[in-house]
């Protein structure tokens, strides 16, 4: 089943910041996005031990740039019976590489509540859909701060 990335503009800007930072992080984002679109269920690891068992296996954590790198959390909705694609929704990209942040201090919007709010309230222009990694990379490049 093909995959499609539903990307909120905040996440797009954050990924772009990383993409345009230097060669190392560009390579890391490149690898992460390609993995995410080619194998969303296998790219990251499902978060274990969530309080509500109905949420188990839907939120995944992907290392961007290896174990000491950034953390990208993404949501995989349960596909509808007639669905022809796997939807991948990035929710949260850590602001620093691992060890530079504390999960207990993230705020709700950083963690993805703004993604949910904008979608539920019909602000669809806050989002873009991507199926091809190369197209996304061009967008990330274009967002490069002047």
């Amino acid at each position: 089943m093909p995959s499609e990335l539903l990307l909120h503009h905040r996440l797009e800007a954050e990924l772009s910041g990383l993409w345009n930072q230097d060669k190392r992080w560009r390579g890391a984002v490149d690898a992460a996005i390609k993995k995410l679109l080619s194998d969303p269920h296998g790219a990251g690891r499902p978060l274990k031990g969530l309080a509500d068992h109905e949420l188990q296996g839907r939120i995944h954590r992907l290392h961007v740039g290896g174990r000491r790198g950034y953390r990208l959390f993404y949501w995989l909705p349960i596909p509808k019976p007639n669905s022809e694609l796997t939807l991948v929704i990035p929710a949260y990209l850590s602001e620093n590489p691992r060890s530079g942040f504390d999960y207990d201090r993230i705020d709700l919007d950083e963690a993805g509540m703004d993604v949910v709010r904008d979608y539920r309230e019909g602000r669809f222009d806050c989002f873009k859909r991507f199926r091809n990694p190369a197209t996304l990379f061009l967008c990330l490049e274009k967002l490069k701060p002047q």
């Binding site: 978060l47 031990g49 909705p77 929710a91 963690a111 949910v116 873009k128 859909r129």
Partner: protein, 206 residues
């Protein structure tokens, strides 16, 4: 330690885990917040790491931090708090039956001695009558001489606590016990993402 890497978890996470372990130790449920406070006090008194600070209050040692942590567990839907048939201000706290039990075992993995201390305190004080529990709280050494609100037992854990878990386990634990993160995950699960998908621009050329 089993050769495991030592990583750390936030104090807030350790407190949630610790209190879950106390509530889980009760056979049925913990009847009354006062009982929960006293059992937690005696558990903590007997162990090395002290996650909560207890002060002198009218009904014995009391920790505001513990009360706050209980609220967080309620918000995480890991614990239920229901009125008891006794009425008034009486509640029973229990582990939510619908939830997986993964968290209950984490503390034993991190610090088995804490689990032992909790087990003994629940056995000794957890099933006494309400009045006996209050009496036990009043019998704490130095309680009568202490001024109101004086610190009886001081928490001694800083912001982070080292634990013998892998980094991935620490991250899972921190996130799965984060009230904010759970709120966001729940919101994601309650959103119908597919119905309006065609209203979002599909970028296939730039």
């Amino acid at each position: 330690m089993g050769g495991r890497q030592i990583c750390s978890i936030p104090l807030a996470v350790y407190r949630r885990l610790w209190l879950l372990r106390v509530i889980e130790q009760f056979k049925d449920a913990c009847h009354g917040r006062a009982r929960l406070q006293k059992v937690a006090f005696f558990s903590e008194q007997a162990q090395e790491k002290k996650p909560f600070t207890f002060q002198k209050f009218q009904y014995g040692p009391y920790s505001q931090e513990l009360d706050d942590t209980l609220e967080q567990l309620l918000s995480l839907r890991l614990v239920t708090l229901e009125p008891t048939p006794r009425g008034g201000n009486s509640y029973r706290a229990a582990i939510c039956e619908k939830q997986p039990c993964v968290h209950r075992h984490w503390l034993d993995k991190i610090d088995a001695r804490a689990g032992d201390a909790i087990g003994k305190a629940v056995d000794q004080y957890g099933y006494l009558s309400h009045d006996s529990v209050i009496d036990a709280g009043h019998s704490v050494e130095g309680f009568n001489e202490a001024e109101d609100y004086a610190v009886l037992l001081e928490g001694d854990i800083r912001d982070q606590i080292p634990v013998p878990l892998s980094e991935d386990e620490c991250e899972d634990l921190s996130l799965s016990l984060s009230t904010k993160f759970n709120e966001v995950v729940r919101a994601f699960s309650e959103t119908d993402w597919e119905s309006d998908l065609d209203k979002v621009q599909l970028v296939d050329a730039v």
